[in-house]
Each structure stands twice: as C-alpha cells, then as structure tokens.
Symmetry: C2
Subunit: 338 residues, 2 copies
Amino acid sequence: MNVAIVGASGAVGQEFIKVLQQVDFPVDNLKLFGSARSAGRKYAFRGNDYTVEELCDNDAFKGIDVAFVSAGGDTSKRFAEVITRHGAVMIDNSSAFRMDADVPLVVPEVNGDDALNAPRRIIANPNCTTIQMVVALAPINRLSEIKRVHVATYQAASGAGAAAMDELVDQARALSAGEQPKVERFAYQLAYNVIPHIDVFQDNDYTKEEMKMYYETRKIMHLPSIEVSATCVRVPVLRAHSEAIWVETAEPVSVEAAREAFSSAPGVVLIDNPAEKQYPMPLFAADCDPVYVGRVRRDISNERGLTFWAVSDQIRKGAALNAVQIAQYMLDKGCFRH
Amino acid sequence: MNVAIVGASGAVGQEFIKVLQQVDFPVDNLKLFGSARSAGRKYAFRGNDYTVEELCDNDAFKGIDVAFVSAGGDTSKRFAEVITRHGAVMIDNSSAFRMDADVPLVVPEVNGDDALNAPRRIIANPNCTTIQMVVALAPINRLSEIKRVHVATYQAASGAGAAAMDELVDQARALSAGEQPKVERFAYQLAYNVIPHIDVFQDNDYTKEEMKMYYETRKIMHLPSIEVSATCVRVPVLRAHSEAIWVETAEPVSVEAAREAFSSAPGVVLIDNPAEKQYPMPLFAADCDPVYVGRVRRDISNERGLTFWAVSDQIRKGAALNAVQIAQYMLDKGCFRH
C-alpha cells in the first residue's frame, strides 16, 4: 500500500505515523505532506526518515492508495480534488465533508460497510466525541433501538492540539510559581477551571461540537430520528475525553444485558467493578486504543433508560486510529488496487 | 444572637467565620468548638480573638441561640443532644439527619418555611451538589412542575476539604518537576484526571453522592416523585462545582420564560451570553455567593425539556452560606429568643 499523511507535523499527523507503525497495516511507500512552514521536516517511520513535502496543486498523489488527511477543513476542501484525482482514497479527519450525502462517515465497529460506497473517494472520519460515543452506543442499540441520548462531556486539552496541552501544563506551572498564566489556546484559563464552550455557538445556542454529536450520530448509526442533546465541556486533562451518557431505548434493556453487550462489543473494554474502585479514567486511557466503558447502571429516572461512562483517547480512537481502521476495513474488503 | 460554630478549624468552619463577618447577621457572642486536637486554637472575628473549646458532654451550649455544626456525621449524631438540650437550634452540615422525617432539610430560596417546624431543634443543611441544583431548579419548577432530571457534575477538590485542595496543587507541582505525585485524599491522582466516583457506592451502583441528589431533591422541593439520575465526577478544580442539567417539565417551558425566571430568582445570577463568551465557570465563581446559571437552551431531544449549566462555590452556598441563610430566615420570622 502506498500511503500519504497530509498534515504530518500536527498532533493527529504525528499520531498517524505512530499508529501506522503499531498496527498491522502494510505500508510499501509513505509520503508526508504539510504546509510550506512544515515542509522539509523529517520524521522517522520503521527505521527510515521521511521528509515533509509541501502540499501543492500537482501530481504528487499519483500512485497513492490512501491519504490520511488532517490539516483542517479549509485545506481538505481545497485539496480534495488534488488528493483523489489519480485514484487515491482520502480519509479526511476534518468536518468539511462529514455531512455530505455522497461522503460516508465511518466508525468501523458501527458502520464499516458504508466505507465501501464512496463515489467521491472521500471518506470522513467523525468528530472525536462522536466516535467514542457511537462505539459505546452500538452494542446497546443492537439490543434495542436507542431513541434518545443525553451526554455531558469532559474533554481533554489535546482536542485543541499539541500547543493546547503545553499551555495547560504551563498554566499549572505558572500558577504554582505565583506567575500570571498565559491564555491563548482557549477562551479562558483551563488550569483549575472547566469551560462549557467547545467550537463556535450555533443559532440554537448549542455549540458546533454539541451539534456534531447530534447530526453525526444520526448518520453513522443509520438512525435518522435518534435525539441527542449534548453539553460539551473542556476540562484540565491532557489526553482522553470522558463522557457521562444516558440512553433511552425502545424496550427496557437490563444492566446485565448491557454489561454483556459491552463486554463482547468490538472496540469496547468494560471496566466496571465499583467495589474495587475500577472504572474508566482519562489518566489511564491516554495512548490506548479502546473505548473504555464503566459505571453501567439503570437510569433511575426512566424505566427504559441506562446510564454509563465512556473514556477514550481522542487522538487515537477519536482521530488517527479510527481513520487507519477505516483503511484496514477497506483493505480487508479488497477495495485497494494493491 | 449567641452563636456557636462546631468544627471551627475545618474548611467549612473557617467559612462560617468568614460568612458571619460578611453578611448582615447579628452576633452578640461567639463560641468556637472543635476536637481535642484543635482545642486552644485562636481565630479572629470582628476584631476579637476567639479560642476553640473542646466539644464535650457538658453545658457549654447554655445560652446559645444557634449552632452551626460541621464536624462530620458521627460528631453531629453524638453531640446533637448536648448542643440542643438548652434550646439552641442546631443547623447541621452533615448528612446525619437529612432524611429524618422530623428534621427539615432547607434551602431558604426553595423551602425556607420548612425551617419553622423543627421539633428536634435540628435543621439539616443539604449536600452541596443538591443545594446548587435545587436553587436552579426552583424557578423552572414554578413555571411547570419538573418531572425528571439528568445531571452530570464537575466537582471541585474542595468538596473533600482543605487538604484535598492542597494535594491537587501539589500534584500539579510534582508533575511539573518530574516527581511522582502524592495520592492520599482521592482514590486516584486528580491532577490532569477526572474521577467518576464521589462518596461510597450503593447497591444500585450509584454512589451515595449521586443518591443524595435523588433523595434530597425530593424532600427539599416537596416533589415526592421527581426522578433524578446523577453522575458525580471529581475534576481538577480547586473551588466551585459545575453541573450540566437537563430537566423535563409537565408542560413545555420556553427558553425565554426560563431565562426570565432565572433572572428574577432569588440566589440565582444568570450569565448567558454565548456570543460574548459569557457563561458560568468555576474559576470566577470561587468565593462568590450566587448560583450562576447559563447555557440555557432547549433540550433538543425532548419537547418538554430544557438544559442549562449551573456553577456555585460549594463551600459558600453549598455549605456555610446556606446554613447562615437558614438562620437569617428563622431570625426574620422571629424564631429566636433574642
């Protein structure tokens, strides 16, 4: 397989390089692309050094089978034709194409087959908070259709990039030293604070991040009428998002059946032993692949309700890993020429 | 008024001293009580020094009108008779008596009159997470009865006492310095982490903290069938709890009506201007009295639903301030002999 990574110097780009070395994915040739600013940088991959090329309107993608793209929505839109014109499949991490009817939005554990029908050769990787939620919703939905979801998120600084993680650590250091903390990456100081504001506000006073969870869940799960009300909150955590989730199903689902479904679901690891203080936490989920689920219990306010807690590293499963898993799924189904 | 503070050296006890100096509450005489360990310590109040006396089975509460008690449930149970035997009213911050039928559980903005009927001369101060939630629920409930609540909390370290705040700051410092952080006050490292576990687990796999929000809300709001499902989470914040709340009302309530109700509700300050990035946050709520409400919007999953975000300093309104407000309410109603 001839693989390209676009946005190679970013937090997700770097994670692509890491994930491709760790998982069983055949890479015959690798090309790295980036902005003029990052062109010329070198990154090691399986013992060789690769130099970042500037992304231009040229034929650099000739011969590429799959391009993992994470350089922001504008770049994705501007270069989609350049990337795909010679037959490459573009797996795009931005929100640029997610809701386009002719672009599949894929989480392999949930709707892998959607990737097999991509007329524009573009496949969209969902938003990180949505990915980890639908991986956890899918096993419950297989027991009884989910009608309604309430979700409150606890999102890590890394969702805003590597510089945002540095800023959080530096804020904590500055405050320890009695200095004024620098605030650049978030609207307010994040250290010792939580900020109920991720992405821009929409007309209905939800944020774009919250509405992504609404629309993307419908599309990925093929549930055009599932109702999702989200409150998305940034917390002073470095890596891995957490979510408190309530679901209402068409028929009651027992806690035992739910736990069993989580235990056997692809991509899910159940950590649910309160007596031994075992439940998922972001501190232990960083750099890990699964969506960890725990605190499974009845929604005591609703006889058709369940509630649980889901934690996942949003740079891995929420971004790079999910995209690579899409390519793996397509490879297994014989979608690529090589 | 002759006032006693029991547990004067603790985080809440210290806050009692502060609040009593700040609010308009007449203190003619003040007595401070504590354990043998803290007996002898001196604290300043309105220009005079007061020495902590050891809490014993004696007549030290003779002449006291009101005792603010925050020394843990066991101490409250053990000394309730000693404190009240000569006629003092005991306003108890522990969970020892909260669900007793003959002990009112009071948030003055919601059910102040309940304090006027306290046959045992004991009045219970609710759990901090419940206090700030019911202050925010009450104005909506006056528009249409609330049937169901989903709430996810973001609780500060200070909920576990002053030493827990120090531990969080020291963990951040240790991690900055490349040292191993000390973990004593919480089950796990709290810096750069969130912990979905506050107080002990119950048979239904909810924590005691989560079930307090269920039972105490019913009692305070006089709504014996309101359903509350809570997920309580500790976050690396020093002071002030945040809550993402969804309510379902008997009849639909518009966002405009809800905003108006919050604006005019006692104890509530509405901060809700997303376009200007104005919403409540714990960083700015520390050491403040109100329950701040913002992010008010429709629950897009439920036509009879609303969702909003509430932040309050849980040592003030969640503990010391609420208790003093109970005493103020009773004083205004002529409950005290002086």
